[in-house]
């Protein structure tokens, strides 16, 4: 589990008095959530965020966060106030399943286990590497056919020396452990290297290999169905039958292992929120399905109907339930994301106005006024309403080798409709961003243009339907800043 503290510090374009029911990633990019610890400066919002996120090897991904606006004077973000949720409090939870993460983790584990068994079986026994076996064969006039000849020689020797011992007259593999234990004692390190020592080691190796080989066979049977292979092997694998695939894997274990290591490195970078999980050159597309839950509440003092009366406390809230699906094509760096869900919200209905009090003066030629920005609502607070939303986004991030010092540029185009079944508003955003990588830190800076279009509006409403705003964001994620519990 990774813990995160994020600060969103911003200028001007915050939306005071309006509860924000954005999805949990409204602060940044659709498929690149701020994860681990982040410091973000955005021109859209000003808030402190405490975030926890994790992606397990079994494919479970989740991100939870709570946030509150940062007070411009005190620089403090209050999550609670007088045992109530603080004004502008927001909580989000994303939980779901990443099919690729599960496949990748399973195959990486499998490959590492196969590698270990293969290494054990192909390791050169010391008695062969230092020539002791060769000298033994020469001394005993063996025809140099290795283990087969040694075994044949042993059987003959054993048979002749145990000919009168009934069942022990034939040397069997099951006797190997006993013989190994008995002959190992003859290893005294002398230059003469007595045959007993060699045979002890020889039996020990055979015994170890006899145990290792069945493990390898069992492991091969567990070969993942969706093999993740490098490009060069993919075409070759398609020409082979299922029974021939293990040999292909065995012949290219090193390449496959290195490729998986690259993908795992990409996953780690993705967990840092710096790069997308695209797994370039995959045999199949990736799928990530998440559920979104977001809740925000905003408590503000609002003047209702008359600016001369006392301001009253108005609570606005927003609850969002939705699904989030990412499709990861085989094109490196490309991701397509779809979101949809329902939103239950109640807005304050207030707008920011300038409230001025006249300052008395004895001289009629002199007057003054004391003005402050306040929230004002002409009528009653709007009723809560239930609406839907549908959003789509396509993101491309140029992928490098994810090494320190690399900068990964990207672009995202998103669009959608909010207020379905109610007052519909079309939204769009074009973002250009770049992510520099350094050790366990991933920075991100970008520029975005937001456009919204009022699809529905009342007969009395006039003016342009379009609203265009800009957004800049700068931030960084720090891996394991708060450690791993």
């Amino acid at each position: 589990v990774r813990a995160a503290v994020a600060l969103l510090v911003a200028a001007g374009l915050a939306l005071p008095g309006v509860a924000s029911g954005e999805d949990g990633q409204g602060d940044s990019l659709t498929v690149l959530p701020w994860s681990t610890a982040s410091l973000v400066v955005s021109s859209k919002d000003t808030r402190a965020v405490l975030q926890l996120s994790d992606m397990t090897d079994c494919g479970l991904r989740w991100t939870g966060s709570v946030s509150a606006p940062l007070d411009s004077d005190s620089r403090v973000a209050a999550f609670t106030n007088n045992r109530e949720l603080g004004s502008g409090f927001k909580a989000t939870l994303q939980i779901g399943w990443d099919r690729d993460a599960k496949i990748l983790a399973a195959q990486a584990k499998w490959v590492h286990e196969v590698e270990a068994l293969v290494t054990a079986l192909t390791a050169m026994p010391i008695y062969a590497a230092n020539g002791r076996l060769a000298r033994f064969a020469t001394a005993n006039k063996l025809p140099s056919q290795g283990d087969s000849a040694v075994w044949s020689w042993l059987q003959k020797r054993w048979t002749s020396s145990h000919a009168t011992e009934g069942t022990l007259s034939e040397l069997k593999e099951s006797d190997a452990a006993t013989i190994a234990a008995a002959t190992e004692a003859a290893c005294d390190g002398s230059v003469a290297e007595p045959p007993g020592c060699l045979l002890g080691q020889w039996f020990t190796v055979q015994e170890e290999r006899s145990k290792t080989y069945p493990k390898l066979l069992k492991k091969i049977e567990e070969m993942p169905k969706d093999l993740i292979l490098p490009d060069a092997l993919l075409d070759e694998s398609k020409k082979l039958s299922k029974a021939e695939l293990p040999q292909l894997v065995a012949d290219h274990l090193g390449e496959i292992s290195a490729y998986l290591a690259t993908l795992q490195k990409e996953d780690a970078t993705a967990r840092l929120g710096a790069a997308m999980v695209t797994r370039p050159a995959r045999a199949h597309a990736g799928h990530v399905l998440l559920g979104d839950v977001a809740f925000s509440v905003d408590t503000k003092s609002v003047y209702g109907g008359d600016l001369s009366t006392e301001a009253t406390k108005t609570i606005a809230y927003d609850l969002v339930l939705g699904v989030d699906y990412s499709y990861l094509p085989t094109v490196a760096g490309l991701s397509v994301n779809f979101r949809g869900g329902m939103e239950r919200s109640r807005e304050s209905g207030a707008e920011e106005v300038e409230r001025c009090e006249t300052i008395d003066s004895d001289d009629p030629a002199v007057s003054g006024k004391d003005c402050t920005d306040v929230l004002f609502r002409s009528g009653a607070q709007p009723d809560a309403e239930t609406t839907g939303y549908a959003r789509g986004a396509i993101t491309y991030q140029l992928h490098g080798k994810l090494n320190d010092g690399e900068v990964l540029p990207g672009v995202e185009l998103r669009g959608g409709i909010d207020g379905l079944f109610g007052t519909r508003v079309g939204n769009g955003r074009l973002s250009l961003f770049a992510t520099p990588l350094k050790d366990d830190t991933a920075g991100r800076f970008g520029l975005a243009i937001d456009a919204s279009y009022a699809i529905d509006r009342g007969p009395m409403e006039s003016g342009t339907r379009w609203t265009i705003t800009s957004l800049v964001f700068v931030g960084a994620s720090f891996k394991d800043l708060l450690g791993k519990p």
Partner: protein, 116 residues
């Protein structure tokens, strides 16, 4: 020119043939010769995996050696399953056969070590 005469490098070609195929879902083969002549087969250059060829049941590796090939130690280990007929040949560049051995495996993994 042959390294056996002490005149520079020569290339060895190791060929493992399984005329009746293997008794294992995968075949592993690795090894080589004491190319530097230090009495040990221990470096990555000396111990290398064999590669499967287009020819069915044939695995090969090539090795450049600095030391004279005559009397050179070599060792090859291969996992093909038990009861599998095998043939190992070691040729020097030029086609001269330096070693040829054949047998049937007793254990799933076989090790052959001898002098050229």
């Amino acid at each position: 020119m042959s390294a056996a005469k002490g005149c520079g490098m020569s290339k060895l070609k190791f060929t493992l043939r399984l005329p009746k195929g293997s008794n294992s879902p995968i075949v592993l083969a690795a090894g080589g010769a004491d190319g530097d002549g230090n009495g040990q087969i221990e470096t990555e250059k000396e111990v290398e995996a064999f590669k499967h060829t287009a020819e069915q049941g044939v695995w090969v590796r090539e090795q450049e050696v600095d030391a004279p090939t005559q009397g050179m130690l070599f060792a090859v280990t291969f996992t093909v399953g038990a009861g599998v007929p095998w043939r190992l040949t070691i040729d020097e560049s030029g086609g001269k056969v330096l070693f040829e051995g054949a047998s049937i495996t007793v254990f799933p993994t076989e090790t052959v070590s001898f002098f050229l």
